[in-house]
């Protein structure tokens, strides 16, 4: 078998696997399975069990207040020659099942020499149980989601989830910018006015208003008195002799102001094909959380986001939750997502008003393996986007240094032609957090 036909055969096998696997993209049901399963004896404690006193966690807000101090400490550690200890971007789920909130907090871990039990596979593990049932009898079922969903690795979800995300993303962005020295954005295009207004006490109004402008009033009084001939010697003014007309009082009143902040629109594209199962999805999504946060910070919350998922077809989803939690299934057509972005931008005439960023996360598989459909769409996208960043989370078992997407993008020469506009970062799916942040730098740095 020649090399190319071998490649083709692998290709086909991959496609077939994705086709045959079936599955669907629904957002998993957060319903709890068998509650106590896998909960070990040390997870029980008196306060909760006897008195229903929940173990408290400091709120994210309280944590953020001391974040500056923490980051200083962390920087100091590096200067003292010790590794940094604070990590961010972890999403935790405090509270009871079903009522989780998404919060982003600085975290750390105390490292010790410990036994690692994870080398045993799930099927070799044993749990406790009681009640009826013959040996071998199935007594319950649990959805597989916990193992395959990014949801298990991070964000849980409940009421108010997406909102919570928003308010904390700003802080995360700040932390990322400060801690990891992510670059600040250059001020671009502050000229475009938006249809947004902020209200400020800027307009002057004579006679009445909300705030007396003393300086302007005095000037007005002086003017009136000059006209009246009430000031004999301009070099020696006696204010006590002033005559004050009601109209002389100048006030400031609330008025709408046009906002000239530059604004960003970010497209997040995620490959949710069957091959993205497991770690690669976790990686892509956590990186997107961080990029999102960084942009929220950079644009002082003035960021609009659009979320697009694709397998062989692309669709837009309304919120980050759906984006984050949708299950993987199906095949892969990268071009479908790019086409959709182009369509949206064109249809809504977005290029005029926004700085547009596109971030795409994939494992690098594409049925369109030489990029014939993808590259033209990408070129089109580059004509209006401020930055297109592609993250490839390469499967650990994949052989060879490059994935299809990486190969055809490199071959197209776009990376060299438009280094300011297009960035690509390929990492192994087992990359750690520092590597992830390194990746963000590659994607967003000037």
């Amino acid at each position: 078998m020649t090399t190319s036909s071998k490649v083709r055969a692998e290709q086909e096998a991959k496609i077939r696997r994705e086709l045959e696997a079936g599955g669907s993209h629904e957002v998993p049901d957060p319903r709890a399975g068998l509650e106590a399963f896998g909960r070990d004896i040390y997870a029980y404690h008196d306060l909760d069990v006897l008195q229903r006193l929940v173990a408290m966690q400091g709120s994210a807000g309280a944590n953020i207040r001391s974040i500056d101090e923490l980051l200083d400490r962390d920087r100091q550690r590096e200067q003292d020659g010790f590794p940094r200890k604070i990590s961010v971007g972890r999403l935790i789920k405090p509270g009871k099942r079903g009522k989780e909130k998404v919060v982003i907090v600085p975290t750390t871990v105390e490292e010790k020499l410990l036994h690692d039990t994870s080398f045993r596979s799930e099927e070799e593990r044993s749990h406790g149980g009681s009640g009826e049932g013959e040996e071998g009898e199935v007594i319950g079922e649990q959805p597989v989601r916990e193992e395959e969903q990014p949801g298990a690795a991070g964000p849980g979800q409940g009421e108010g989830g997406p909102h919570e995300m928003e308010s904390n993303a700003y802080d995360l962005g700040r932390i990322l910018t400060e801690k990891f020295k992510l670059p600040n954005l250059k001020d671009k295009g502050k000229k475009r006015s938006l249809t947004r207004y902020t209200y400020d006490l800027t307009d002057l109004h004579r006679g009445f208003g909300q705030l007396l402008d003393k300086k302007a009033t005095l000037r007005k009084i002086l003017e009136t008195n000059l006209h009246l001939g009430n000031i004999p010697d301009v070099g020696h003014i006696d204010p006590s002799r002033f005559l004050v007309a009601p109209d002389d009082k100048v006030y400031r009143v609330l008025s709408p102001e046009k906002d000239y902040e530059s604004q960003a629109l970010v497209f997040f594209l995620r490959d949710y094909s069957g091959s993205m199962e497991g770690q690669s999805t976790v990686l892509v999504v956590s990186q997107h959380v961080m990029i999102y946060s960084w942009l929220v910070y950079q644009y002082a919350m003035q960021v609009e986001t659009r979320f697009i998922l694709h397998d062989t077809q692309a669709k837009e989803v309304p919120d980050f939750y759906t984006y984050y939690n949708s299950k993987v299934a199906g095949g892969t057509q990268v071009s479908s997502a790019y086409t959709l972005v182009n369509e949206i931008v064109e249809r809504e005439n977005l290029a005029r008003d926004y700085n547009i960023y596109v971030f795409h996360g994939t494992d690098g598989d594409d049925w369109d393996h030489d990029g014939t459909q993808c590259i033209p769409q990408l070129k089109k996208m580059l004509s209006y986007a401020n930055r297109v960043g592609i993250t490839i989370a390469q499967h650990a078992h994949e052989e060879g240094p490059r994935t299809e997407v990486e190969k055809y993008i490199r071959q197209s020469g776009l990376l060299e032609d438009k280094p300011k506009l297009l960035r690509l970062d390929a990492m192994r799916e087992d990359a750690d957090e520092p590597r992830l942040i390194e990746g963000i730098k590659t994607l967003i740095a000037d």
């Binding site: 696997r17 696997a21 599955g23 068998l34 106590a36 399963f37 004896i41 040390y42 404690h45 008196d46 909760d48 069990v49 008195q51 006193l53 173990a55 408290m56 400091g58 944590n63 923490l70 400490r73 907090v105 600085p106 750390t108 105390e110 490292e111 010790k112 020499l113 410990l114 036994h115 690692d116 080398f119 596979s121 799930e122 099927e123 044993s126 749990h127 406790g128 149980g129 009640g131 013959e134 040996e135 071998g136 199935v138 007594i139 319950g140 079922e141 649990q142 959805p143 597989v144 395959e148 069957g274 091959s275 497991g278 299950k327 993987v328 299934a329 199906g330 499967h395 078992h397 052989e399």
Partner: protein, 550 residues
């Protein structure tokens, strides 16, 4: 935080009286506080010890998923802490009947703290008082040395799970020195066992020969005995003399060893670090017995709050409320382990065993199923046996001794497993085994058990610190090794080596067929892969980690 009111305190005193009458033994004085959520916010990072030293990690969300319970030898959310007087915390809107139940639970915990021998080292002082003075000392040092105090705390904490808890207990309950001759001790304890490595039969023969010599002549018997020994083992005399010269090596844990032998810590300008390390060591030692008696402690408290509550005449009319709460605490989950439920049933089982005389060798020798089932000697020794168990066992011994097939059958326990059903795309939970052996193994496997890391003294001679991880079928968490060794190197001041076992990764696995929505291929592949172990040595030198395969 404020004390409970007089009304509630009076209820507590009534509980104490009844508990003491039932046979529980505890110190009279106790402190009960009402806590609000705000108090808990401050207390939980400090493990419910209000006076624990400050440390910045307490203020940060700590990631605990990985090895959460292995990392911390304590439960941060206890209602009662093992101090003198014992302090317990209450929600301020508990109804009286519920407080009665909780008081009994708390009193049983206090009884356990103050009588179980694994807590022996905490009996002679008040931990909160000690912690307060330590906290002040650390605050004082922090004002002088700044962040370096926190580094020392951090590095000391990184090895605090390796503390020699059992050695500490051993020191407290050492058998009194024998008045026998040291030559005799040496002969039987060391020479025969470690030098000659004789078989058991031969060993017993020697004991019999010694006893015979003594019977013949109480004064000269020993001499006669050794005359024979010298003839049989000509080398004995010189070996014995040599053994007198070498002092028996005392077993020190890593923290003690570093404290005593680290040149870095013993330099004049670094001496202030030693008390900090000692504070961390003391704190971890204090918490050690709690995690090692979790099932017993909670079982004991649940057993007694049930027994005592139902007999309490003051709360008539609240039986239904109690039953509901009690069942919530102590119901056996269909799958999963609940230490309250399991422990309580074990104590009930033990009481039965004692009452019927089934814990005796006579019963154990019985093989006839009918006889075993109907065995009852009406010995009534249940209560006695309970208190003995409470005094002398920890979770390991408790489970190992009393989880037998009768127990497993009586409470219909089983080991649950989880397997993938690829057709339905779900995990199936199924009954894996109903044998006591498997159930016991499952329980024991889940118990707190930090790795055993010893100091290789001969190799440590030239300044390097050589640590050896005793292999127990599990590797160490690899990501944590670098930073932990870095901390040890800092405290030791010289290179540190760690020998451990790791799984040999079979070459890159052939591309597994990844099916969306399931991990079948992965676990199957893992099952097929045979576990191969190898010894590796990590070396931390100048804050750089290297790894070599031995």
């Amino acid at each position: 935080m404020e004390l409970i009111n007089q009304h509630t305190k009076k209820i507590m005193e009534g509980c104490k009286q009844r508990a003491a009458d039932a046979g529980l033994r505890f110190e009279k004085e106790t402190l009960e506080y009402l806590v609000t959520n705000r108090d808990l916010l401050e207390l939980t990072p400090k493990l419910m010890i209000p006076t624990l030293y400050d440390y910045w990690v307490h203020e940060v969300e700590v990631l605990k998923e990985k090895g959460r319970y292995e990392l911390y030898p304590n439960n941060p959310y206890e209602t009662v802490i093992n101090t003198r007087p014992a302090i317990s915390y209450y929600n301020d809107n508990n109804p009286d009947w519920m407080n009665v139940m909780i008081f009994y639970h708390v009193l049983a915990h206090i009884d356990f703290f103050q009588n179980n021998l694994y807590f022996r080292h905490t009996w002679d002082y008040d931990f909160t008082g000690q912690a307060l003075s330590d906290k002040r000392m650390i605050a004082q040092l922090r004002s002088e040395k700044g962040r370096w105090v926190d580094y020392v705390i951090e590095f000391a904490r990184s090895i605090d799970n390796l503390v020699g808890f059992h050695a500490e207990l051993g020191r407290l309950s050492r058998a009194p020195e024998t008045s026998r001759s040291r030559m005799l001790d040496y002969y039987f304890d060391r020479f025969l066992q470690t030098v000659r490595m004789v078989k058991t039969g031969e060993y017993i023969k020697e004991i019999e020969r010694y006893n015979a010599c003594r019977r013949e002549s109480p004064e000269l018997g020993e001499q006669a005995f050794f005359a024979e020994v010298f003839r049989k083992y000509p080398e004995f005399d010189s070996l014995y003399k040599k053994s007198l010269e070498t002092k028996p090596a005392s077993r020190q844990d890593l923290m003690q060893f570093i404290l005593q032998h680290s040149e870095f810590l013993n330099k004049e300008r670094n001496r202030w670090m030693k008390p900090v390390v000692e504070v961390v060591r003391k704190t971890t030692l204090f918490f050690q017995p709690q995690i090692r008696t979790k099932i017993m402690n909670e079982g004991w408290a649940s057993y007694w709050h049930e027994q005592l509550f139902l007999k309490d005449d003051r709360i008539c009319g609240h039986e239904v409320d109690f039953s509901r709460t009690h069942a919530g605490v102590t119901a056996m989950p269909r799958v999963g382990l609940n230490p309250y439920a399991l422990g309580m049933r074990m104590f009930q089982y033990i009481a039965d065993q004692g009452d019927t005389g089934r814990h005796t060798p006579e019963f154990r020798k019985l093989t006839d199923a009918w006889e075993r089932e109907h065995y009852d000697r009406h010995t009534g020794g249940g209560r006695n046996l309970l208190f003995k168990v409470r005094e002398n066992l920890n979770d390991f011994l408790f489970v190992n001794t009393f989880v037998d097939q009768d127990f497993v059958n009586r409470f219909r326990l089983f080991v649950a497993g989880r397997r993938l059903n690829p057709a339905k795309g779900v995990w199936e939970i199924y009954v894996k085994s109903r044998s006591a052996e498997d159930y016991r193994a499952m329980l024991l496997d889940g118990l707190y058990h930090p790795p055993c890391i010893e100091i290789d003294q001969p190799k440590t001679g030239n300044g390097n610190l050589c640590l050896v991880h005793r292999f127990e079928g599990k590797p160490l968490v690899r990501e944590f090794i670098a930073n932990t060794l870095l901390g040890i190197e800092y405290l030791w001041g010289k290179p540190v080596q760690l020998e451990t076992s790791e799984i040999v990764r079979a070459g890159p696995a052939p591309g597994p067929a990844v099916l969306p929505g399931m991990q079948m291929s992965l676990s199957e592949e893992r099952k097929q892969r045979e576990m191969k172990w190898q010894r590796v040595r990590y070396t931390m030198q100048d804050r750089k980690l290297t790894r070599e395969v031995l």
